[in-house]
């Protein structure tokens, strides 16, 4: 131990520290300054950036002792650096000012500063521009931005891109981040100048109601911008132990021997558990119970958990893992779904009783042979897509505790808290009521936090030791263990008449679902049902095989299988347009789903189908841009590409899709809305607060949101399938309506009017000029012993299983996108210059949050098309570091022109349907179609391989 003296945020600090402790750990675990986040732990993501003696450093690899005598600035001290330059202002945390009313697109009528005294201008503008979503990268992003502005008070967009190019934001809020930095710079240059707050990238949307439709900042934005926001690893408890997991050594092997005696004997080790110590269900799983809590007979992928340890320190836990003896007998590795289906192949997992076949999904409509017989043109191709990684910035973390009455509490970042509770209780052989799952804030999910990670393990260890146990995955562990986006092989055959009318669409899809089912059969079902694209095709036949292999499990990932099939279908459609010598917009328009169309699964589209309008808007904008660019000769390898897509909102397929929310009102004139539904950065609390405020006539700030605590909040169901705004949004809306009716009954006596005639607005209840404060009504309701809480369990419109006539889904969102790319003919490198997008989401409840989802989806699938690939060879993960998983950074951010189509859906809250996934789906094929238009080579394999592309171009080949 050495004494470390430094100044942190202006305060002198003296702590005892080991030489191998690094600064991020010292700040977080010794000083409790948990605003500094650890994303990759290897200086590859920038989340841990702090400023040491005026220089930004990655504190995750900066030995704490190097800061001896240094001045360290963390996110917690950022605001005071600004307050110090502005004499007289308070430094107590304040509340962000309400940004006022939108008068026209993007302009908010508020003169002067948006900075409250307790916020640095960067923090304030990040909040108001929507530059933070999950918030996990935000502290590092802000510190790096501060350093930029310290040295360059007026940075250009390019300068911002250089400064922030290695500070990653997986929510993809880069456009908003660039705008926020420039507005902050402007305010810092001229703090007292009057100015309007403009949100430049805000799309035009319908006129707002009192609250709904306004670009309000997130309720958790201040906490996220100041470092006060708490994610799981930010919690600590007295006597807490550190847990660690022994992972499989081989992708497929029999366990011959498992000996933990030496590990148990290591001083400081408090528990070493194996499958023998799992008292209840030995397996877990969201749909199929096929995933061992701790492996017993064999291991099926490299990330399989074999044993777990709890120890006094992380070092001891790590050393204990090295002392566990496991003898394996390696088995043949099944590394692709096509081989997995062959009868001679070894069975990896018999989870469904069909060998390696997790599920065969069959979609049939009309007569496929007749359809192709009628076709004048048939296009048939095979497409390949690899595994992809969510790369959420916050690695998985769970804390297990034994509560006083013997119950078990697990704190974690989960997309499905009630499912966690069920699975924890089953494994521990406890009743569900004996388990409490508390959701912390989640640093990104994108589908990757739906399955169990360490939740059961910490519960087991806490129970075994009687002490709190924390497990925080390293990035390596996160990458090798959690489910991925399915790798696919998709063969698509598209038939059309000479005039472009689609007559037949056939597809065979192999999905690599890896070692365990996760949500594999649902994901591949969505891939199959969307495999004819957003078009009305009379004859359809699709066969999809979701297969077990020895690769990492594949499960939910933004797009849910549709990302893969859309790439195949939209590539075929584009090729068809060229064959027929048709405008690609026109071909899509002719065949687009519209009111009265029938989908591949036999569902008649009855309402809310804005695809035609999406296509029209994108076409109009692309043609306008093309025309206006006529003067400047464009390089011959610059080209536009186009694609369209649709995506279901909600679970569908006959699954009861329900969510519950509770609204409680208080005598201080506030309300709280509660539901166990996850906020993963997408903005659920914003939407729930807005809906509740609208229905109760309260100011937005007067509504608090409590999410994801199975003791305190009712079940909101999974955060998946773009469903939360619709389903939990409706639950909150009906709960608030129910609450309002009770309050209206109370108020009607005092205002001498029928309850239905009362107006709830701006915190008052009124009728004919008479009004009472909302708070007063609540007070009187309580005096009258009326309920002040209202719970509503909402059931979405019923759906039908695949193969049964009727509606498989209660709604779809639609999108059209065009990409302008530039291709370097000497190197094969592709850059996306522009994306024009139009998205039909029913109704924009909050245009700011909506735009964040649109831009983030585009950024994610720009990576899907060009840079990302989760490389697995023979079951061995190669992409086991962030540096080896090449997601786009701010430098890849194209110009994004976004249109919103609001074709309302009658059952949706204020007409809204899902947006989380649809925004990302057309991006990949729009880019690859643009590549074809630029160089004449069809991309059949993702991601675009610039070497292969170059070879094909040189050799005059038509595909790669």
């Amino acid at each position: 131990m050495t004494n470390l003296n430094m100044t942190v945020n202006g305060k002198p600090i003296s702590i005892e520290i080991e030489a191998n402790e690094y600064l991020a750990a010292a700040l977080r675990y010794k000083l409790g300054l948990t605003g500094t986040k650890i994303g990759c732990d290897e200086a590859e993501c920038g989340a841990c950036t702090v400023i040491v003696n005026g220089t930004p450093v990655d504190s995750c690899i900066y030995p704490a002792l190097k800061a001896q005598g240094a001045e360290v600035l963390t996110i917690e001290g950022l605001a005071q650096t600004w307050a110090a330059t502005e004499p007289g202002v308070a430094t107590e945390p304040g509340v962000a000012t309400e940004p006022g009313v939108v008068t026209e697109q993007g302009v908010v009528t508020e003169p002067g500063s948006v900075t409250t005294p307790a916020l640095h201008p960067l923090q304030a503008h990040f909040i108001h521009q929507g530059a933070l979503q999950c918030g996990y990268c935000t502290p590092g992003m802000l510190m790096q931005s501060k350093h930029l502005l310290d040295h360059n008070p007026n940075p250009t967009t390019d300068e911002i891109k250089v400064a922030l190019k290695d500070t990653l934001c997986r929510c993809g809020a880069y456009v908003a981040i660039m705008n926020a930095i420039q507005f902050a710079a402007e305010e810092m240059r001229e703090p007292n100048a009057a100015r309007q707050t403009v949100i430049p990238n805000l799309p035009a949307t319908k006129a707002p109601l009192d609250v709904i439709g306004k670009p309000l900042p997130r309720p958790d934005a201040i906490a996220k911008a100041t470092g006060a926001a708490k994610y799981t690893d930010d919690y600590a408890f007295p006597d807490m132990l550190w847990g660690a997991t022994l992972r499989a050594k081989f992708p497929h092997a029999k366990i011959l021997k498992l000996d933990v005696a030496q590990a148990q004997a290591l001083p400081g080790v408090r528990a070493v558990l194996t499958h023998h110590d799992v008292p209840g269900s030995k397996n877990h799983g969201l749909i199929y119970n096929d995933w061992p809590v701790l492996c017993y007979d064999k291991v099926r992928y490299q990330g399989d958990a074999v044993a777990i340890v709890a120890a006094d320190t992380r070092e001891i836990a790590q050393r204990a893992l090295d002392l566990i003896e496991v003898a394996y007998e390696p088995l043949p590795v099944v590394d692709n779904p096509v081989d997995a289906l062959k009868p001679e192949t070894i069975i990896v997992n018999d989870g469904t009783g069909h060998g390696n076949l997790l599920k065969h999904i069959h979609v049939e409509k009309g007569d496929i042979d007749k359809g192709f017989a009628e076709a004048d043109v048939i296009i048939e191709n095979e497409y390949h897509s690899p595994f992809y990684e969510h790369a959420f910035m916050e690695p998985e973390c769970s804390i297990g505790r034994v509560l006083e009455n013997g119950r078990i509490e697990v704190i974690c970042g989960s997309q499905i808290p009630y499912e966690d509770r069920r699975q924890i209780a089953a494994a521990l052989n406890m009743e569900e009521r004996e388990v409490r799952v508390r959701g912390a804030l989640i640093g990104g999910g994108f589908g990757g936090k739906e399955d169990i990670a360490a939740q059961i393990h910490v519960a087991l260890l806490a129970k075994a030791t009687g002490r709190p146990v924390k497990m925080l995955y390293s990035r390596h562990e996160s990458l090798v263990s959690h489910p991925k986006r399915h790798a696919t092989v998709i063969r698509v055959k598209t038939g059309a008449k000479q005039d472009g009318t689609l007559v037949a669409s056939q597809a065979t899809i192999y999905g690599d679902s890896g070692a365990y089912a996760s949500l594999g059969d649902k994901v591949m079902t969505r891939a199959a049902t969307h495999a004819a694209g957003p078009y009305a095709v009379p004859n359809v036949k699709i066969d999809c095989y979701a297969m077990y292999t020895n690769n990492p499990p594949a499960g939910a990932f933004r797009g849910f299988g549709v990302t893969q099939s859309a790439f195949a279908v939209e590539s075929n459609m584009d090729e068809l347009a060229h064959q027929l010598n048709m405008d690609p917009f026109e071909l899509r328009r002719m065949n687009a789903l519209r009111i009265g169309s029938t989908t591949s699964t036999g569902q008649v589209v009855k309402e809310s189908a804005g695809l035609l309008e999406c296509i029209r808007l994108v076409e109009q904008e692309v043609k306008r841009q093309r025309d206006s660019n006529l003067q400047s000769p464009v390089s011959k390898l610059q080209s536009w590409g186009f694609a369209a897509a649709f995506k279901n909102t909600g679970l569908g397929g006959g699954a009861p899709d329900k969510s519950a929310a509770e609204v409680e009102v208080f005598e201080d004139g506030t309300a709280e809305v509660r539901s166990s539904a996850a906020e993963i950065g997408q903005g659920l609390p914003t939407v729930l607060a807005m809906i509740t405020a609208e229905e109760l006539g309260l100011p937005y700030e007067n509504v608090r949101v409590l999410l994801s605590d199975t003791d305190l909040t009712p079940d909101g169901g999974p955060t998946t399938a773009s469903r939360q705004t619709f389903v939990t949004g409706n639950a909150a809306r009906y709960a608030a309506k129910g609450m309002r009716e009770i309050l209206a009954e109370t108020a009607s006596e005092y205002l001498d009017a029928a309850p239905a005639q009362l107006t709830f607005k701006d915190g008052y209840v009124s009728q004919n000029g008479h009004k009472l404060p909302f708070a007063e009504i609540v007070k009187r309701a309580r005096q009258e012993n009326r309920p002040t809480r209202y719970l509503h369990e909402y059931f979405a419109p019923a759906t039908k299983p695949l193969g049964v006539e009727g509606d498989m889904h209660f709604g779809f969102s639609y999108a059209a996108q065009a990409a302008l790319i530039e291709l370097d003919p000497d190197t094969g490198e592709t850059h996306v210059l522009k994306i024009v997008t139009a998205t039909d989401i029913g109704r924009a409840l909050n245009p700011l949050a909506l735009q964040g989802q649109v831009e983030g989806g585009i950024m994610m699938c720009l990576g899907n098309a060009l840079t990302e690939e989760f490389i697995v060879e023979k079951g061995k993960v190669w992409s086991d570091l962030f540096a080896k998983y090449k997601m786009p950074s701010i430098k890849h951010t194209p110009e994004i022109v976004s249109f919103i189509v609001e074709d309302e859906i009658s059952a949706g809250p204020f007409g809204a349907k899902g947006v989380g996934e649809i925004s990302s789906i057309p991006t990949t094929p729009a880019i690859t179609n643009a590549i074809y238009n630029a160089c004449g080579v069809r991309v059949r394999r993702l991601p675009v391989d610039q070497d292969a592309l170059l070879l094909a171009m040189r050799a005059g080949k038509l595909e790669t």
């Binding site: 732990d41 990035r475 000497d826």
Partner: protein, 326 residues
């Protein structure tokens, strides 16, 4: 989360102290300058030194001094190198290369000396400990064989420093200080064609200074190929330096490649073709063609080796075109 293995940390105040400390540990210590590559590697247990000798507290290792040419002390950070006006104007390839290393945060920590001594890299070597343990260790650390070329008796890990090809192309020299005194060697002699013993200095010698000769009108450029324009290491680096005589003929030429072998690779034939000639489109093509041939990247970094080899020709041509326009 990954933990740094335990070590002692020493913070000497002078070069002499640093070198003496190193000698005391008899090979069990490592020098740590910026540590930007060292610490992540330690977390993955590529290195488990008993002691680290931190060089940040040594004032005499910092600064850029103009003399006959220019002397850059080894502890100067990469951001200082990138933003130095004389380096930017007269040795611009070096400022460019320094500015292309990893991330802004790491350039503020990392030093020129550290970048020149950067550990060689390989897909099999730069992996987390448990990954290497599961697959079997390679000869560069804890193992016996080369995973890239299993029949090979040597290690093929790749020199991935951006600055080394530039310093070699600029005819730089480095000053080494060790327990046996000090010496100055040519920058090209700082490297060996071996993935394990990749440095041509003794382990106990410390790089203290980088000496560049007078620019004397030499124009230089550095181009870097990587998958994304983000923090990735170079999968190809091209440093080119040309001095033109008053009649427009090339009086001196050096082209050095990074990222294609275990050491910076000098394109001798390309330089020979350029000498005494005027830089025409045809000559650029011929020099690029000549540079392409000796480049022998192996399949052990990002992107395919065939692509990296092909890009050698494109990037050398682009480098020379950039110099013809300067």
């Amino acid at each position: 989360m990954l933990r740094l293995p335990p070590f002692e940390y020493h913070a000497p105040r002078s070069i002499e102290q640093a070198v003496n400390l190193y000698a005391q540990f008899g090979g069990a210590a490592m020098f740590a300058a910026g540590g930007t590559d060292l610490y992540p590697n330690m977390k993955r247990r590529q290195f488990t030194p008993q002691a680290l000798i931190g060089l940040n507290g040594i004032d005499e290792l910092r600064g850029i001094v103009q003399d006959n040419g220019i002397t850059i002390r080894a502890g100067t950070t990469l951001s200082q190198v990138a933003s130095h006006p004389i380096l930017q104007s007269q040795y611009s390839a070096l400022a460019t290369a320094a500015n292309l290393v990893s991330t802004p945060q790491l350039r503020a920590m990392g030093t020129l000396g550290g970048n020149l001594c950067l550990d060689t890299r390989c897909n099999y070597y730069n992996q987390e400990f448990s990954w290497r343990q599961a697959l079997g260790f390679c000869m560069k650390k804890d193992g016996e064989i080369c995973m890239v070329a299993p029949g090979s008796s040597r290690c093929w890990a790749v020199s991935s420093t951006d600055c080394a090809p530039v310093v070699v192309a600029l005819d730089g020299r480095v000053r080494l200080v060790g327990p046996r005194g000090e010496r100055v060697i040519a920058a090209s002699d700082l490297y060996r064609d071996d993935g394990i013993l990749y440095l041509g200095k003794e382990r106990d010698e410390l790089v203290t200074e980088i000496l560049l000769p007078p620019a004397d009108g030499t124009k230089s450029v550095y181009l870097k190929l990587r998958r994304r324009d983000s923090f990735d290491f170079p999968i190809l680096g091209v440093a080119a330096a040309l001095r033109f005589a008053s009649n427009g003929e090339i009086a001196n030429a050096r082209i050095v490649l990074g990222g294609v072998g275990s050491r910076p690779l000098e394109c001798v034939e390309s330089a020979r073709l350029l000498m005494g000639q005027k830089l025409t489109r045809e000559l650029i093509g011929a020099a690029a063609e000549a540079a392409w041939k000796p480049a022998r990247p192996l399949d052990n970094t990002d992107s395919t080796h065939s692509y990296r080899k092909k890009m050698t020709r494109v990037y050398v041509a682009r480098a020379l075109e950039a110099l013809s326009e300067k």
